[in-house]
Amino acid sequence: MPEKTSSSAASQDTDSSEPVVVFDDVSIKFDLKPVLQDISFTVRRGETRIILGPAGGGKSVLMKLANGLIQPDSGRIRIFGNDITEMPERDLFKLRARIGMVFQESALFDSLSVEDNVAYRLHEDHVPEAEAHERVIEALRFVELENTISKFPPELSGGMRRRVSIARAIVSNPDLILYDSPTGGLDPITSTTIVELVIKQRDVSHTTALMITHRLQDAFLLARNRFNPETGKVEPLPDGSIDDSTKFLVLNEGRIVFDGTTEELVHSDDPWLKDYLS
């Protein structure tokens, strides 16, 4: 996507130093079983937070909490400075105009074409048809899937569906993108393509993002590479350096076991973390 132009006027009404996402002592149970316990972390503007952890650790639940799709049992969640914990759904709809979300299984609308899927939010906002079409083309060009515009989701491969889902999430130039396992269930080559798109989005638009992944190689690919706008390709950061806007959050059995930078993660002495990373 091109660099943000207006990127929703609402984004400018909040202090730029204010964290975009704040979880404060958040807990949630399903059927009396604790899924997340005392989760507290902060994501600053422009930061990409990678959420790692074994399956069933509550990562997807955390992502849905961040978008207000479910409510916590206790604790507070602030997004762009707004407390969404008890926010009515009507107000959440307005707030979600600034959030893009990529779902685990893409969650594209089967009955709509790729164009209508990507333009869904634009149509809801009554963006003129010609402008919506142009923005859809732009978003699909970003994920290199312009040729699929008139196809339907069942005609696409898993990787293509995931890329269309990314196009749908970024078409409205959101201020926060939530990637829920965008590489889950994909082969390594397609996964790398998806992570490269995340890197491209991070380095071109500097959008704040939360990304869940099960694959450590995806996480480190994101931390050690950058998008070169001159060559249009993703390449390793010079001198083996690490992207300082990329940080990690590791969850295990509903609790945070690590919250910090890539350097801190790889040098952690925590035995469970060492075992997990190995």
Binding site: L69, I99, F103, A107, F109
Partner: protein, 259 residues
């Protein structure tokens, strides 16, 4: 199915009734505030109304045929075979037209709604809709509700008409009755209260079909197996509700119109 204590069972059922009531209320109230999805309402009218026409016509026609056949045989014993038209018209308009149309449309559309919305639920499409700033009740349930209520009203009229026509065909061709006499008797048998009763029922049935179908769809859990379960439950519950509400409405209408 796991056994639960009576207290937990009662709480689950009460919570389900509460959830169903809230869903139904929002589905109704959404039409009175923006945004309104008129295109979806028209699409659903086409799918539910026009799509159900063949089964409604066939069911209505053959119900009228068999009604004429059965009643004429019995009426013959009393020498009142000429009253076949009265009996078919009254039965079709007051009872069989609305109820059978409701049951047929329930079988076709409550299941369709439950499976479509259930599939969307288990593939996170409903969450995606919310994440994209759309109220799923407003977008998915409200159009189905108003389309079903509106179209079921007209489908019932069609079923009544073809049922009476089916009765006429049997009466004239098999029983040797005079067509003019049949239609005259049918027309004279019906009064305003009968028509009002027959056309009030589909309004309730339409509401039940759409809200029950959508409720089971939108609360689906458990993957594809859950979708199948929701679909079955939607048809069973909506059919039983239609019959129960038919009895209540009939009683109320008899109280109002005296017949």
């Amino acid at each position: 199915m796991p056994l639960v204590s009576p207290e937990v069972f009662a709480k689950q059922k009460l919570a389900a009734i509460q959830e169903y009531s809230i869903l139904s209320w929002h589905a109704i109230a959404n039409l009175f505030s923006l945004p309104r999805y008129w295109a979806d309402i028209y699409t659903q009218m086409d799918s539910i109304g026009v799509g159900s026409m063949p089964i409604v016509v066939l069911t209505g026609f053959f119900t009228g045929c068999v009604l004429a056949l059965q009643s004429a045989t019995s009426l013959q014993e009393f020498g009142s075979v000429s009253l076949t038209g009265n009996l078919v018209a009254l039965s079709m308009v007051k009872e069989l037209g609305p109820v059978l149309t409701g049951l047929m449309v329930s079988g076709r559309n409550a299941s369709g709604m439950a499976s479509e919305l259930g599939s969307m639920k288990v593939t996170e499409q409903i969450d995606a809709m919310r994440a994209l700033g759309t109220d799923p009740i407003r977008k998915l349930v409200t159009p189905r509700l108003y389309a079903t209520v509106f179209m079921l009203f007209f489908l019932t009229i069609v079923a009544d008409a073809v049922g009476i026509a089916g009765g006429a065909l049997v009466s004239v061709t098999l029983m040797g009755l005079n067509a003019s006499s049949y239609f005259n008797n049918s027309y004279r048998a019906l009064v305003y209260g009968d028509i009002a009763q027959g056309l009030t029922k589909p309004l309730f049935s339409g509401f039940i079909i759409a809200t029950v179908g959508c409720y089971f769809g939108i609360t689906t859990t458990g993957g594809t197996q859950g979708v199948g379960k929701s679909t079955t439950q939607a048809v069973v519950v909506s059919s039983v509700f239609i019959i129960i509400v038919d009895f209540i409405v009939s009683r109320a209408m008899i109280g109002i119109f005296g017949r």
